[in-house]
Symmetry: C2
Subunit: 211 residues, 2 copies
């Protein structure tokens, strides 16, 4: 029962497509469907049936001839594989507008991410709470993380200090950095880095819209 047997091999693009399948089969589930084939998924999602079957081969499920995948099983297996069923803890560095917004997005918890604290150097937010989540001075993290033991550091500081703050969070023990700044930070080997620059996505939209 090792759901992650093949996970070493799953390439990031495949991994990123799995949530699309999950989202669609959850919808089918609410509509009372019991089975789904990769061909059916392909019809709704802009990915070929063979690619879908290949992507799903990384998770521990096998479809049945003619009927396809058992939807309940597929949802379970995908949620476990994607880590949504296990709660990971995170801290947010930089409680400006985006950081505070993330602190108030309780929806992340449904997907397995629990934000347990915020950190900032700005006196106006240090020692306050945002949506019940305490905000501390950044310098306190080194000591606090002995107890907090946060898995992930969310980076929403100004670009100019992004690298420095990322280095600090890693020194304090986080194993993954979720970088929301447009700055390309570097992390040592063994540390997981995920970049989500909303501004880069905006730039793509604007460029396409303005043509």
């Amino acid at each position: 029962m090792s759901e992650q047997t093949n996970s070493n091999k799953i390439p990031e693009p495949a991994l990123r497509r799995l949530p699309w399948y999950l989202s669609y089969v959850k919808l089918l589930n609410t509509q009372g469907e019991k089975f789904v084939s990769s061909t059916q998924i392909a019809k709704k999602i802009d990915v070929s049936a063979s690619q879908i079957a290949k992507d799903l081969s990384f998770v521990n499920i096998s479809g049945k001839t003619r009927v396809g995948y058992d939807i309940n099983e597929l949802i379970d297996v995908l949620e476990i594989f994607l880590g949504f069923k296990k709660l990971h803890t995170a801290v947010v560095f930089g409680v400006g507008s985006l950081g505070a917004a993330l602190l108030s997005d309780s929806g992340l918890e449904q997907y397995g991410l629990k934000i347990i604290a915020g950190f900032d150097v700005n006196k106006s937010v240090v020692n306050t709470k945002t949506h019940q989540i305490p905000v501390y001075h950044s310098s306190e993290f080194l000591e606090l993380n002995n107890e907090l033991k946060a898995d992930i550091g969310i980076l929403t500081v100004p670009s100019g200090v992004a690298q420095e703050v990322s280095d600090y969070m890693i020194r304090c023990g986080v194993e993954g950095i979720w970088n929301f700044t447009p700055f390309r930070i570097r992390v040592p080997e063994g540390i997981v880095l995920q970049n989500t620059s909303l501004y880069a996505h905006l730039a793509v939209m604007f460029n396409r819209l303005d043509q």
Copy 2:
């Protein structure tokens, strides 16, 4: 003076890299630097100097031999090219935790996105304000958008209604959809679609962390 002369040709991956360069040269600017070469940028960012030079060839700037690009000029030209200097208007459909978080992220405005209204069907949020931004009933958008004339519809509804709400926003006149749901929506030709699934990014982190 047409900054977007070549923009028809810029591929999305190049476009997504431009904000990284912008972010870095803005940092250099605050440090008092005047010129920067693609080699210098390459040293700080995980992209080759030749790729950087190629990416920058899409924007209207030319480097000078030996000294490189004028930093002030590069910042200006990139901000214009990326659409950050022109204010685009957006509405948010689905004022749940993520939608409300986006309404409260005033930082987006610095990057050229002004959120002017929220829409929802939930009585507990309709006719309220979130960070001074009014929230209306979704059904009112068709009429309201005659005046609002929003460029972009931000989609933060439950996955099950993502396609339907996207279709509705397009019928009401938006030209771009920024999809934050994990659902793969489809849009007609001519409509700009940008997918930003935070959950897909989370899934990648979790999978890498849990190995």
